[in-house]
């Protein structure tokens, strides 16, 4: 671990500092967006969007490499595919609820398949695993600026429209009766989830971004008394998991993204187990009182 901190302080090795800043900036999104994704139960939807991103990345890499289009960064394709996937799922979810599952799974699979096929046909070597599992040590200063800007936007929107976000998640029909434009709230959330997924996949990768959008918020859900508490606690847990995963990944020379998710998963399961034991204990005390 001392090696981690000495490398962090080394001016010649900025990549680890970038990784640490990325971990902390990502935690804000994992906490705030994760809480909304969790209470609105749209985690599967976010999973489909994150996997569709591979299609956008692969397509841009292929078209750029074959000179069909001018060379552009693959992240542009990721944004287009993520937003497109989110809006398609959103429209289907609102208009034909019974088809939602099918469409989510179709977009999930089709996005991945487009990515795999186009990467396979892209001239030169393209390694899909860095996109699938992330490579936090390749994070650039531009990525950090994007993450910081999105953090500010997300926190500002969550603070400004908190009552409307909370009401439409808890009781959408009632929020509508109170005049809240619930569909607008829903589509803005989907759009932000899509953009966030693209930026966050640089940290933990496409496959694991959904885990980090649900595990810190899910862990927070065991003790949070309200949605804002879930956001703040989720942010706190995500920071611990992210930094912990980064340190562990560096120390044991394993992928940091995977370590982050392993730590998050272990803590979540520990909370779930503690919750079950507590419930069981409470029930047996109550049964004893009833018998007495």
């Amino acid at each position: 671990m001392s090696d981690f901190f000495s490398t962090l302080a080394n001016p010649a090795m900025p990549f680890l500092r970038n990784a640490l800043v990325a971990a902390l900036l990502s935690s804000v999104l994992f906490g705030v967006i994760g809480a909304i994704v969790t209470v609105r139960r749209i985690a599967t939807l976010a999973g489909a969007v994150s996997h569709a991103v591979l299609g956008g990345i692969g397509l841009v890499l292929y078209l750029s490499a074959t000179k069909a289009i001018p060379a552009i960064p693959p992240i542009i394709g990721a944004f287009v595919f993520a937003l497109l996937a989110a809006m398609i799922i959103g429209v289907v979810s609102k208009r034909a609820k019974q088809r939602e599952d099918t469409v989510i799974n179709a977009i999930w699979a089709i996005g991945m398949s487009i990515g795999v096929l186009t990467m396979a046909k892209t001239p030169g070597y393209v390694d899909p695993s860095s996109y699938l599992f992330g490579n936090i040590l390749l994070i650039s200063t531009t990525d950090l600026i994007f993450l910081a800007v999105l953090d500010v936007i997300v926190v500002a929107l969550a603070w400004r429209f908190y009552p409307q976000i909370e009401a439409s998640a808890f009781d959408e029909e009632y929020a509508k009766v109170r005049g809240v434009r619930v569909n607008l709230v829903y589509f803005v959330i989907l759009g932000i989830v899509a953009i966030a997924v693209v930026l966050l996949q640089t940290f933990v990768g496409i496959v694991m971004v959904i885990a980090m959008l649900t595990l810190p918020a899910g862990t927070a859900g065991y003790t949070a008394r309200n949605l804002v508490g879930m956001m703040v606690l989720g942010w706190f847990y995500a920071s611990i998991f992210s930094v912990g995963g980064l340190v562990a990944g560096w120390t044991f020379d394993v992928p940091a993204g995977a370590m982050v998710v392993i730590i998050a998963g272990m803590v979540f399961l520990a909370f779930a187990l503690a919750g079950m034991i507590k419930k069981h204990f409470k029930r047996s005390v109550k049964n004893k009182e009833d018998i007495a």
Binding site: V39, R41, F161, F170, D171, E173, K176, R178, R225
Partner: protein, 265 residues
């Protein structure tokens, strides 16, 4: 009580269907300001659809729905609504106070009323659950949750209160308390209460609207009014409130207007 007041709600030639399934067929009725109306009918006849139309959550396929003479969407600030809300996320972290505070929710503003906490406390006291303010909503019993939803509807002091099956799964104490609260509002607030109990209604009721499938050409439900009569066998201690028996053998057109306001035999 005279009901020569303005009309709070008017359904005029309203038909509605979900896809190819006709739900409502040429519905006509109106409610005057200050009236206490029971809308009864068996499950699946379209009572909740009538409420959705009145709240502007759905639009009629033909005919018109007017609240205080205007489109429902522009009058929502005058309506208090108690939904069934039987399906909710049992792990949603939210306190009773926060649920009640939603009754003061503005469509886009964050600004909270400076007396919001006082109003929340008062609304909870009105339905006798003031001590539950800080409890998680999901920890409450079915009856307590119903009372909280009533408090949420009342906090904005609506002039028109719509309740969807408020007594479903409610214990008799909660039911009695609910109707005593509604009794204090009677005459001052227009009340439309929906229930699937087609035999008895609260003694507070001025008129009974009955929704049912009566063999209309389109296959949707139609609406008529029924007379009521007091009964002594549905005793208050058993049911939580005084009740009136609905006389189904007397059918009055849904839009018939009685200036006396009450339709008891």
């Amino acid at each position: 009580m005279e009901h020569n007041h303005a009309t709070a709600l008017r359904f005029q030639n309203v038909s509605f269907s979900y896809g190819q399934t006709a739900v409502l067929d040429n519905i006509n009725f109106h409610i005057h300001e200050g009236e206490f109306i029971a809308l009864v009918g068996p499950n699946g006849t379209g009572k909740s659809t009538i409420l959705k139309l009145a709240l502007g959550l759905e639009s009629p396929h033909s005919g018109s729905v007017l609240v205080y003479g205007k489109q429902p969407q522009s009058m929502l600030h005058r309506i208090g609504y108690v939904p069934q809300h039987t399906q909710y996320d049992r792990s949603f972290p939210i306190s009773v106070s926060e649920v009640v505070g939603m009754g003061l929710l503005h469509p886009s503003s964050k600004k909270a009323n400076i007396k919001q906490q006082d109003r929340i406390s008062d609304a909870l006291q009105d339905v006798a659950v003031g001590d539950l303010a800080d409890r998680p909503y999901t920890d409450l019993s079915g009856g307590q949750r119903r009372r909280v939803l009533v408090a949420r509807a009342l906090i904005s002091h609506p002039s028109f209160l719509i309740l969807d099956e408020p007594t479903a799964n409610m214990d008799s104490e909660s039911e009695s308390l609910l109707f005593s609260v509604l009794g204090t509002l009677k005459g001052k607030t227009t009340i439309l209460i929906v229930t699937h109990d087609t035999e008895f209604v609260s003694s507070l009721t001025d008129r009974v609207l009955c929704l049912g499938k009566r063999g209309s050409c389109a296959g949707g439900a139609t609406i008529v009014q029924h007379l009521t009569e007091p009964v002594d066998y549905a005793h208050a201690t058993l049911t939580g409130q005084e009740k009136l028996k609905v006389l189904h053998d007397v059918q009055i057109p849904g839009d018939a207007c009685n200036q006396e306001g009450t339709l008891h035999e």
